[in-house]
């Protein structure tokens, strides 16, 4: 679901085909019949943006028919935990949970906590929403004070236990409701329910794969929550052949969140300090809560070791290991907010490395207008991409919105070395690091990103040398002493040395650390990313291992290296029953060896090695010592997988079907239409198409979604320049069903233009039986699809599809809703120049669009809300 794996991840898809060859049934649930559907056993159509209703329907099917893996659920999830009496569900409040504040569009979340735990009393959802705080709890679950004192009912019968709350919450997600919301015929839906449950038990597991078709929604984090809940109820987490597979968008995007390029995270999913954190202790206090179990508690060792790696000898216990030199965040510094700040004149410079926001980011026009209002812009890429040429060839030149002679931005285009011209690691979706050697020297002036960052830092430090100003101290105190290769000023930094420093050292001996369990909070260890510690264990680049599968066991432990500690399956303690025995011979992975008094198995056990299955921790214990023998989810503060999230998420403890920000239909389930906490920006340059209950939605009657083709790479910077790829998909096209083609007079291979309140995009029409209309809540809904790879440079070019989307975000992680919007499709080419602006003015007027459109996010109330942009 939410993944077109065969097309977007063809290399990984070989394993799906191999599983199919061995008898696995492959089901593809998607708005369109794709190359994945073509080789699946079953294709199931769904309306874009309705996946939670579908998954909620499956959850109801499981609970209603007692098909959950009861022993697993009782032991390893929080299904038995009781929730506070003042918690109110969406079923009680017509789509809202208790604690909603329509003024800020956020929740005061204390009522969602477990019975017996400590409410903070001052939960500030509004503040959390500006920091993307839920994301900061990435490595360990959000803190729940006193989770060890939470009341539980092991029989799962108490009306306020999570299991019973779940039953009530999803009770209305019947097959009929699924059909009404998703457009999926109920027989097909029930077929999926039967397949999923028939293949989830002691002997069988089911894997769930998703990609950005799930994440890029205004309620995206809850899509994944819904998938996780279902897999937990069926006992499919931590077991071989189970799991929730998040396929990432590029090579090593996993790596770029592990060692992040995100404003609110430090390496290893440690929270970036905010302005309230005056010292290390106040930061630590925010990361831990009373009765905090598991390895998330040892965050002090991870943070201090990171600071030792950053600042070397300058980091001492006396100066808090240089904690003060870390940047502080004061609010939303995410990418879309930054772009709006550019337009508003608050940003002067911008580095764009390996990205093409003029094409690849939602609302391309907003991106280009922002970049046209800077002092300087550095673009590093393999080719001269649209992000470097927007000032002279963007669509805004034609409309007069950017004038090359007056565009103030100075653009520095720097040629980048490609992945075969540099060494380093890729981290793929299984968390596996694989070392790449350099195949050829970079040609001409092309250099690696590592080279760029190293010399930029070196030169800035040289400029600042001798400065006593406080603001310059972080740069001056950096341990910027990487090993280098070659001679002269422009040496290449050693990627091998960087990997060693990521692995970390015992500073008393100089030895490389074996894994993160060796990290200390006293400054005697350094480590650039705690979850990667062990990648250079025993002085061996573990990521470079390439032992063929024919020479090792089923889990191929000596191919690359998987974080943490080379574990292939996370939370694999759950592959054994509470007594430590495999659930079945067929699905055995790790188990308790009573003779050795240790956990053992085919994979590296994800549990304290010698903590026995029946272990009960002493009162008052914290951290790993506080784990019970059945606390399989060792990073969670309560040791349990969360069916219900008592804290952490901003938009609810349970997933709930909300309509997308732009939808042609009224939410059939609740009076609350969309996610009541989504981030909306009521700005003239970011209009929204109206959605019910607003009027005017009929101007944009169709559901719009966009995705990739195998033949091109994301924003096209690496494929539209290449003849062999360009000729395979030479033009932008829009896929429509034969039914929609007849309705709108569209002809195969003719021109059409897709219109939203942001843009009109011209594309060739491809009429195909692979798309079909759906019946949603009694009316026929058509979906249209475009690939988003095209832009204005390269051998093949076309309009920027992302211009069609506006900026509206999930409140938890600030992901934009770029997988679903509404649109119109009209035959013929789009108007150009001033006529294009006239067309957009006309459709906005027809739909009654103002800056207020789409900002009444709490439709059960009548309060307008928008994110502050100043």
């Amino acid at each position: 679901m939410g993944s077109n794996m065969a097309e977007a991840h063809p290399v990984g898809f070989q394993w799906v085909m191999e599983a199919k060859g061995r008898g696995a049934r492959v089901i593809h649930i998607d708005p369109r019949f794709t190359r994945t559907s073509a080789v699946a056993d079953t294709y199931v159509p769904i309306r874009a943006g309705s996946d939670i209703a579908f998954l909620g329907g499956v959850i109801r099917y499981v609970l209603d028919n007692d098909l959950d893996f009861r022993e697993y659920v009782a032991a390893y999830t929080n299904g038995s935990f009781l929730v506070r009496e003042d918690f109110a569900d969406t079923e009680d409040l017509d789509g809202l949970f208790s604690g909603y504040d329509p003024g800020t569009g956020t929740y005061e979340r204390d009522s969602w906590l477990y019975e017996g735990t400590e409410p903070s009393g001052d939960d500030d959802g509004a503040r959390a929403k500006t920091l993307s705080e839920p994301f900061q709890a990435g490595a360990s679950g959000a803190g729940v004070g006193g989770a060890d004192r939470a009341e539980r009912d092991p029989t799962l019968q108490h009306p306020r236990c999570v299991f019973q709350i779940l039953k009530r919450h999803f009770a209305r997600y019947t097959p009929e409701m699924v059909e009404r919301v998703c457009g999926t015929p109920r027989e097909q839906f029930l077929d999926v329910c039967r397949a999923w449950t028939d293949h989830s038990n002691r002997d069988r597991t089911t894997a769930l794969v998703y990609s950005v078709g799930w994440t890029q929604h205004s309620v995206g984090a809850q899509y994944i929550r819904a998938g996780a809940i279902l897999q937990l109820l069926l006992g499919n987490i931590g077991r071989p052949g189970g799991g929730v597979f998040a396929l990432r968008g590029h090579a090593s995007i996993q790596g770029s969140t592990d060692i992040p390029t995100l404003f609110n995270l430090l390496p290893g999913y440690l929270a970036m300090p905010s302005v309230e954190h005056t010292d290390l202790d106040t930061w630590l206090a925010d990361q831990r809560t009373g009765g905090h179990k598991g390895y998330g508690y040892d965050v002090d060792a991870y943070m201090v070791s990171l600071l030792k790696e950053y600042f070397g000898d300058a980091a001492t216990p006396e100066n808090d290991f240089g904690f003060d030199w870390l940047p502080r965040i004061s609010g939303d510094h995410g990418t879309y907010r930054t772009v709006m700040d550019m337009i508003d004149g608050k940003v002067s410079g911008y580095f764009v490395l390996g990205q093409n926001p003029a094409v690849g980011s939602a609302h391309g026009k907003l991106q280009r207008l922002g970049m046209a209002n800077l002092d300087w812009l550095v673009v590093r890429d393999l080719n001269e991409i649209e992000t470097a040429t927007f000032w002279r060839d963007s669509p805004e030149i034609e409309t007069g919105e950017i004038v090359p002679e007056r565009c103030r931005t100075e653009v520095f285009l720097m040629p980048a070395a490609s992945h075969v011209e540099k060494e380093g690691t890729f981290t793929q979706t299984q968390r596996m690091l694989q070392w790449r050697t350099k195949a050829v020297e970079p040609s001409g002036d092309r250099r690696s990103e590592l080279w760029f960052a190293y010399h930029l830092g070196r030169l800035v430090r040289a400029r600042l040398a001798g400065s006593t100003q406080e603001r310059d101290q972080p740069m001056l105190n950096l341990a910027w002493d990487y090993a280098t290769e070659g001679e002269g000023e422009w040496v290449e930094p050693s990627a091998d040395d960087v990997l060693r420093r990521i692995n970390g050292h015992d500073l008393t001996t100089g030895e490389l650390l074996p894994d993160y369990l060796g990290l200390k909070a006293d400054g005697s260890t350094s480590c650039g990313c705690w979850i990667y510690s062990g990648v250079y264990a025993e002085g061996v680049n573990q990521a470079a291992r390439r032992k063929p599968h024919t020479e090792q066991g089923p889990y191929d432990a000596e191919w690359g290296w998987t974080w943490p500690s080379n574990r292939r399956v996370l939370y694999n303690r759950a592959s054994a029953d509470p007594e430590g025995r495999p659930w079945s011979e067929r699905k055995k992975l790790v188990w308790w060896d009573a003779d050795e008094r240790a956990w053992t198995g085919h994979d590296i056990p994800d549990f304290p090695r010698t903590t026995p299955p029946g272990h009960q921790p002493p009162d008052g214990a914290t951290g790993p010592e506080a784990l019970s023998g059945d606390d399989a989810f060792i990073m969670q503060p309560d040791g349990k997988a969360w069916l219900f999230a008592p804290h952490g998420l901003l938009d609810g403890p349970l997933p709930t079907h909300y309509e997308p920000h732009e939808s042609p239909v009224r939410n059939p389930l609740y009076r609350q239409q969309g996610n009541p906490t989504r981030k909306v920006y009521g700005r003239p340059d970011n209009p929204s198409n109206p959605a019910p209950p607003e009027s005017g939605s009929d101007v944009f009657p169709y559901v719009l979604t966009a995705a990739r083709l195998t033949e091109h790479h994301t924003a096209g910077g690496m494929s539209r320049q290449l003849p062999y790829l360009s000729e395979l998909q030479p033009a932008l096209f829009v896929e429509v069903s034969p039914e929609l083609a007849r309705e709108r007079g569209l002809t195969h291979l003719g021109d059409a233009h897709v219109v939203t309140s942001r843009a009109a995009v011209q594309a060739r029409v491809v009429v195909t039986d692979r798309l079909a209309p759906l019946r949603v809540d009694g009316r026929v809904v058509h979906q249209v699809w475009l690939p988003y790879h095209f832009g204005h440079t390269g051998l093949v070019s076309g309009d920027v599809v992302n211009d069609l989307f506006g900026v509206v975000e999930d409140s938890n992680v600030f992901i934009q809703e770029s997988k679903v919007a509404t649109c119109d499709v009209r035959p013929g080419p789009r108007p150009r120049g001033p006529a294009l602006r006239a067309l957009l003015d006309e459709v906005r007027a027809a739909a009654g669009i103002t800056v207020a459109t789409g900002t009444r996010i709490a439709t059960a109330h009548d309060v307008r809300h928008t994110e502050e942009t100043s």
Binding site: F13, Q14, P723, E727, H748, A772, P773, L795
Partner: protein, 356 residues
């Protein structure tokens, strides 16, 4: 003298190679093809096959044949992935459209929009390839009431008339390539020796010897080999002859992520294909068949053969290819008879004249 048709156990030996390696080839299992076209790209990269427009992308256009923008095998495309959208089912595959508010299929309209464009497009040596020749009598209508093969140039107007809503659907993908026939028509008719049989039993054309006569183009029963426009020389898949010499598998097979293209010794590939076919038949995919596997076929069996999920015409492959030289003895015989007849007639004339 070499045999001109029929089974041939030692194709390289027959061509004069002694102590040669075993015959190799491709088994392309189209049932696991995901249409990624990595084979097309890997082939072009390795063999430096030009793109249709190296410089500015001008002239590149959508063909409208589903996701196929290559169109056919030719001098500049030695691998070609066909995409076939059809209102039919494969085995137990559930296409998912039943119960939706659909109307008639759009396939006749799309095929109609594509057909005139194809006729304008520059063609290679043959009307085969993507544009199969209609064969034989149509199958009984009651078995395949809504069949449309979904291939440009092969639409049969009226197939779908009367269908109120579409329910069945499948999307077939298949990577086509030179078949490296046991009896290769191109090789047999080449007057310069540019085409030759390698020690691996494959058929390779040498551009430095080719004089561009084009006999091979009409000699190929599959419409594979083609002359490059700018110099007129013949080009086709070499089964990566250079890689084979270095013990490497061909580039397309190496790049194929799902092992749809399998490279190996032909005997072993045939066994593998037989097992896979039996497996699919067990799974209820009754239309699955092997194509080019049979040494008794009109070309003596293909070095590159296929597992198809429908009749070969659906994929643009000729149903009963045969090497032109198969008919040579008969043709020579007829020519001889004709010559003898002429001789007799001439003699008769003289005799008659003599009588005058």
């Amino acid at each position: 003298m070499s045999r001109l048709y029929g089974p041939l156990d030692d194709v390289a030996g027959d061509a004069g190679h002694v102590e040669h390696p075993p015959r190799v080839g491709f088994f392309t299992d189209t049932s696991v093809c995901i249409g990624c076209k990595a084979c097309e790209v890997a082939c072009k990269e390795w063999n430096a096959v030009p793109s249709r427009n190296e410089n500015d992308g001008a002239g590149l256009d959508l063909l409208g044949m589903s996701f196929d923008n290559t169109g056919m095998l030719g001098a500049d495309s030695w691998r070609h992935v066909a995409f076939v959208e059809q209102p039919r089912r494969t085995g137990h595959q559930e296409p998912g459209f039943a119960g939706l508010p659909t109307g008639p299929s759009g396939i006749p309209e799309t095929a109609g929009a594509v057909e005139p464009r194809l006729q304008e497009a520059p063609r290679g040596g043959s009307e085969l390839g993507t544009n199969p020749l209609p064969t034989g009598a149509p199958e009984p209508q009651e078995l395949r009431p809504t069949e449309n093969l979904g291939m440009p140039g092969f639409s049969r107007p009226g197939d779908l008339t009367g269908a109120e809503s579409r329910t069945d659907f499948r999307w077939l993908m298949a990577s086509d390539v030179c078949k490296h026939c046991t009896h290769a028509g191109c090789l047999d008719v080449c007057p310069t020796g540019a085409l030759f049989r390698t020690e691996f039993g494959t058929v390779v054309v040498q551009q430095d010897i080719c004089n561009g006569c084009g006999y091979c183009v009409s000699g190929c029963p599959y419409g594979v080999i083609d002359r490059r426009q700018h110099d007129g020389r013949a080009n086709k898949c070499t089964l990566c002859y250079d890689r084979l010499g270095d013990g490497l598998e061909p580039a397309c097979a190496k790049a194929c992520p799902t092992d749809s293209i399998q490279f190996g010794e032909l005997d072993e590939l045939r066994e593998r294909a037989d097992r896979r076919l039996a497996q699919l038949h067990d799974l209820g995919v009754s239309e699955a068949r092997l194509y080019g596997r049979d040494p008794d076929d009109g070309v003596g069996g293909d070095g590159a053969f296929f597992l198809l999920l429908d009749e070969p015409e659906v994929y643009g492959l000729p149903p009963d290819p045969h090497v032109p030289t198969r008919d040579a003895p008969a043709m020579w015989k007829r020519a001889g008879q004709a010559a003898a007849a002429f001789l007799l007639a001439g003699l008769a004339a003289f005799v008659a004249g003599g009588r005058r």
